[in-house]
């Protein structure tokens, strides 16, 4: 027979690692599973083998397809045994083995028999197993039994059927929706859990029917729901109804508030808490509405149960962000939580106090936080630091102790995000509180003496360069900077050289081993000593170093390359400001130096800076103001056509410029006077104001032509534009490269171009979405739900919405795990007019393929929040 289970040691009590599964092996257990095939079944032994199989699966062991199939078939034999205990284990292992469709058929009849058995335990479990493994085709056959089971007088059976219904609703909604009458009857059940499961299923069946949900909530809030779990559900559904109706009924009392308030007197703590939380989260909650909820949460603060204290303090912490006054009553209880054993609770308590407390308590709180900063996780530490930063801005007089605190924790161990939060806070305090400047700068100096993060070192050095000279004794800082020059890596050293007044230092750097450091040192040094005046840096020098260059960098580079060292020094004014077309010179006569200052090939500039420079160099566009956004190039021609054209959309506040990047791919042709004729009849809000033709477009040398439109200022106008490339074509003799004198006018149809809503949105990420979200506050929040219709999968739906809005996905939430049925995606962006926008998208698959989405928008302007909804609604 199979190998016996491990023998128990006589003195196993002394043996710490004793386990009945010591030395267990998959192969041996699979061998043992042969007892399932014995004609005389030993139920106890079979149960033990199943337990071993479950143990292996639980430890992460995997069975091959063959092994799993073999075990599954053997297990099906066990339905012959009438032993209740064994049957129970059989149910569990079938669920774990997740048999394939063709295997399921083998057990179907056994399970269907159990489903109609007189034994309650059989009925309940057979329903759960069958619904778990069935693929839906079977569902119509067993539907009758499931409907009966929902109203079974045994609560375990009813719950099994209802819970299975909740799962099946995802895959076979049309069938489950037919059970409404039975489910409705089960909602009235006297059994607590049956009521809970029935309510959950009924709501899910009706959730898209606002009226039905409204009715459900109205009738249940009047009646008596017995189960605390069901009551929690009812509170959630009620909150939903309140949220949705709030916008409709602006007058009078909030509907259902009385119900929520009544729940605060429920005997179950989970219900009281659910209701209190629901009240604090009401849109535009008034302090009168808040008071009873705060009162019960306050009682929870002194509970002996950590879970209760945590739940209460976490909720109050959130309330303190928007209604600090309402939470001040809890300050005494909050104080006692500062020393809570559970550090999460202590941290939440302190940060709440920092938001609600007064100036006199600051010092004491800071002392207490110091004692356990080292015990808490970085994510909590950042919460503390942010609370301190806002506190310091609120009570500038306290800057000394707060700054000391920040500098102390800056010296301790911590990750990059944490250190960055501290440094950012110090920098903000230095900027906003003049008294804090000197001590803050010194703290930063000390920090860079021993800083492992290059990025932070460079940032601080740069900051020292700006602030240092304005202090009473700049030489103090030079010593620190000087130390860094000797010790740090090249990035930091190069960063240091941004301090234009440190002349000795620069001399030293001329001997540095890194090229960039030497170059920068030479440059600054020469600039500084140019007129023999070391300290007096003239306006023009400053302009040169820190102002922006008004010529395209590519042109400058090309001109410098062409410059031959001579008596005459290089004149920057000779560099062309316009983006010119490279003449065919090099092709015509290889080796011959291009005459004059031939422009470089103007490849599409990649960054917005480059675009901005390019556009501002064109006089027609110079009065359009600041460039808001440039789109990625959109192809207007198929690949491998005669002329390749793509377009970049430049968005200004009151204008849009289309930059057509054209390439001529025919060696025998020279195009001249190239323009794009744009038909804006399908873009009513746009009016063409300027067009800049391209003088000549030789073979394989890209050039640009521009068309500018005026549009209403600040309005996210959208529209369709059809484009026609118009030009004069001249034949070119391939042997000589000479073009004929006479040309022919010709046209070339390009594809349509659209200005869409996403063009008015900049992709700008935030490092911590949650913080950004909460600090934005719910004042301009807009929430609504949308059906996106049938989609291939969630990922496709998520992508579609991201592209539609043109926002930056945060924290990797654009990635949808495969087979997910729900997903939350976080987006951030800046809308035209420099309005920050945050979006929280919650997707769920509703029915077989239908995707539903909840869209919550927060922004600095409620009109913008509405616009985002309009984009989605019309998209």
């Amino acid at each position: 027979m199979a190998q016996p289970f491990l023998k128990k040691d006589d003195d196993h009590d002394d043996e710490a690692d004793y386990s009945p599964f010591l030395g267990i092996e998959k192969g041996a257990v699979l061998q043992e599973a042969r007892v399932f095939n014995d004609p005389q079944l030993d139920p106890r032994r079979c149960s033990q083998v199943i337990t071993k199989l479950l143990y292996l699966l639980n430890q992460g062991e995997t069975f091959t397809k063959v092994e799993a199939t073999e075990v599954f078939f053997a297990v099906t034999k066990l339905f012959q045994s009438r032993d209740l205990g064994l049957r129970r284990m059989v149910y569990v292992i079938i669920k774990e083995l997740s048999p394939s469709a063709d295997e399921v058929i083998i057990v179907t009849s056994s399970l269907m028999k159990d489903m109609t058995s007189k034994t309650d335990m059989y009925r309940a479990n057979a329903i759960r197993v069958l619904c778990r493994i069935t693929d839906g085709t079977l569902l119509t056959q067993i539907e009758r039994y499931l409907k009966q089971a929902i109203v079974d007088k045994n609560p375990v059976v009813a719950s099994a059927a209802l819970v299975s219904g909740i799962h099946l609703l995802q895959t076979n909604p049309e069938i489950v929706k037919r059970w409404s009458n039975e489910v409705q009857e089960a909602v009235q059940s006297r059994a607590a859990l049956v009521q809970f499961h029935a309510l959950a299923l009924l709501h899910q069946i009706r959730q898209n029917d606002r009226l039905a949900v409204n009715k459900l909530v109205s009738s249940l809030t009047r009646g008596s729901v017995r189960s605390p779990l069901a009551q929690c559900l009812l509170i959630r559904y009620t909150s939903q109804v309140i949220r949705e109706s709030a916008s409709n009924t602006q007058t009078g009392d909030r509907p259902f508030y009385d119900f929520l308030e009544g729940c605060l007197r429920h005997k179950a703590e989970m219900v009281i808490f659910e209701a209190a939380r629901a009240i604090t989260e009401l849109n535009g909650v008034t302090s009168r509405e808040l008071t009873p909820a705060i009162t019960v949460l306050q009682l929870f603060l002194s509970s002996t149960k950590p879970v209760l204290r945590f739940a209460a303090v976490r909720t109050l912490n959130k309330v303190a962000m928007t209604h600090p006054i309402a939470v001040t009553n809890c300050n005494i209880d909050m104080e006692s939580l500062i020393s809570d054993q559970n550090r999460s609770i202590a941290t939440l308590a302190i940060t709440t106090l920092l938001k609600t407390g007064n100036e006199s308590s600051v010092d004491r709180l800071m002392k207490q936080i110091t004692t356990f900063m080292s015990d808490i996780a970085d994510e909590f530490k950042i919460v503390v630091i942010e609370a301190i930063r806002s506190l310091c801005l609120k009570f500038p007089l306290k800057h000394r102790s707060l700054m000391n605190f920040l500098s102390n924790i800056l010296r301790e161990e911590g990750g990059f995000e944490y250190k960055k939060a501290i440094v950012d806070s110090i920098v903000i305090l230095i900027r906003d509180i003049p008294e804090a400047k000197e001590s803050g700068l010194l703290h930063l100096c000390e920090f860079i003496e021993d800083c492992e993060f290059t990025y932070l070192s460079t940032q601080i050095l740069h900051f020292l360069g700006i602030e240092g000279p304005k202090t009473s004794d700049p030489s103090k800082y030079i010593r620190y900077i000087y130390n860094r020059v000797h010790l740090e890596n090249a990035t930091v050293r190069a960063g240091i050289l941004l301090q234009p007044h440190i002349f000795v230092l620069l001399r030293r750097c001329l001997f540095d081993t890194d090229d960039e450091v030497r170059d920068r040192a030479t440059l600054y040094l020469n600039t500084l000593v140019a007129d023999g005046a070391v300290v007096e840096t003239g306006e023009d020098v400053k302009e040169f170093l820190f102002g922006s260059l008004d010529i395209p960098l590519v042109n400058l580079e090309r001109s410098l390359k062409n410059y031959e060292p001579s008596e005459e020094s290089f004149d920057i004014n000779s560099v062309p400001k316009e983006v010119k077309i490279q003449p065919l010179a090099e092709k015509k006569a290889p080796g011959k130096k291009p005459t004059g200052l031939g422009g470089p090939p103007p490849g599409p500039p990649s960054t917005i800076d480059a675009y901005e420079k390019l556009l501002s160099s064109i006089p027609e566009f110079s009065n359009f103001g600041k460039l808001f956004k440039s789109s990625a190039p959109v192809e207007l021609t198929e690949a491998e056509t005669e002329y390749a054209v793509n377009v970049v959309k430049h968005i200004f506040d009151g204008h849009v410029v289309f930059q057509y990047n054209c390439t001529n791919t025919i060696p025998e042709q020279l195009l001249e006077n190239v323009t794009v004729i744009v038909d804006a009849s399908e873009a009513e809000e746009f009016a063409e104001v300027a067009s800049k033709p391209l003088r000549s477009l030789p073979y394989d040398s890209p050039g640009q032509t521009f068309v500018a439109f005026e549009k209403p200022e600040g309005v996210p106008a959208v529209g369709k534009f059809s484009n026609m490339l118009r030009f004069i074509v001249k034949e070119v003799d391939p042997s000589t490269g000479e073009a004929e004198d006479d040309g022919v006018e010709d046209e070339y149809q390009l594809e349509e171009l659209e200005v869409v809503a996403a063009d008015y949105m900049l992709k700008v990420g935030v490092s911590n979405f949650r913080n950004a979200w909460e600090s934005m506050g719910p004042d301009c929040e807009r929430v609504d739900e949308y059906g996106l219709g049938p989609r291939e999968n969630l990922a496709e739906a998520v992508n579609a919405v991201i592209n539609l809005l043109g926002m930056q996905p945060c924290e990797g939430t654009e990635v949808v795990p495969s087979n997910s049925r729900s997903h939350t995606c976080l987006l951030s962006g800046v809308y035209i007019g420099n309005v920050k926008v945050l979006v929280r998208l919650q997707f769920g698959i509703d029915g077989p393929k239908d995707v539903a989405m909840k869209l919550a928008v927060r922004s600095e302007d409620e009109a913008v929040s509405d616009v985002i909804h309009e984009i989605v609604a019309s998209g």
């Binding site: 774990e96 659910e274 698959i845």
Partner: protein, 221 residues
Amino acid sequence: MPDTKVRSTGCGSINSCPAVKNILILDSDGKRVAVKYYSDEWPTNSAKLAFEKSLFGRTLKSNARTEAEITIFDSNIVIYKFVQDLHFFITGGDDENELLLATVLQGLFDAIALRLRNTIDKREALENLDVIFLCIDEVVDQGMILETDANAIAGKVAIQNMDASATLSEQGGVKATTYPCSCLGAVMGEGAKTPNFLKFLMTISQALASAREHLTKTLLK
């Protein structure tokens, strides 16, 4: 138990239905005794192990013996309770009602205590691993809370122990014959604490029935 086929729980913030993401029972070295995942947040075994390892490390020093403790971990609420060398965990989404999750964990914990006659430690748990698996199976079904009442859970699991009452390593009949009596004692001890007298009586009668049936079976052997 590792899911090979992960199904959605049908619950989440959209449907505002409470959902459990996992239940973990680890030993004092952080090794698995029994785990069950209901969410596809941890798609692979190594992702699960990594979660268990860091969660175990994070909570190791806390005192979660008299009352369950709580923390936020990887944007999830985790509630945990330790007894002897066993560490119990339950995980839910970060906007889940903390007290609700705690009720589920307490229900599971008390049910196991009932079934293991109040000696909950790693050895007892491993020797009665079938009981542990069945208790977990009765508490949560694919993320949906199935039952939170410890007596009800223990009652449902009890049915199976009529015949396979011997622990894994003791296959002899000695312990089996004494089992129903000691079980009865445990039930009485526990039952006396619960105010629900009716349920208590039911459990007693259930235990008596199982004792009777067991006796007949032993006689027939």
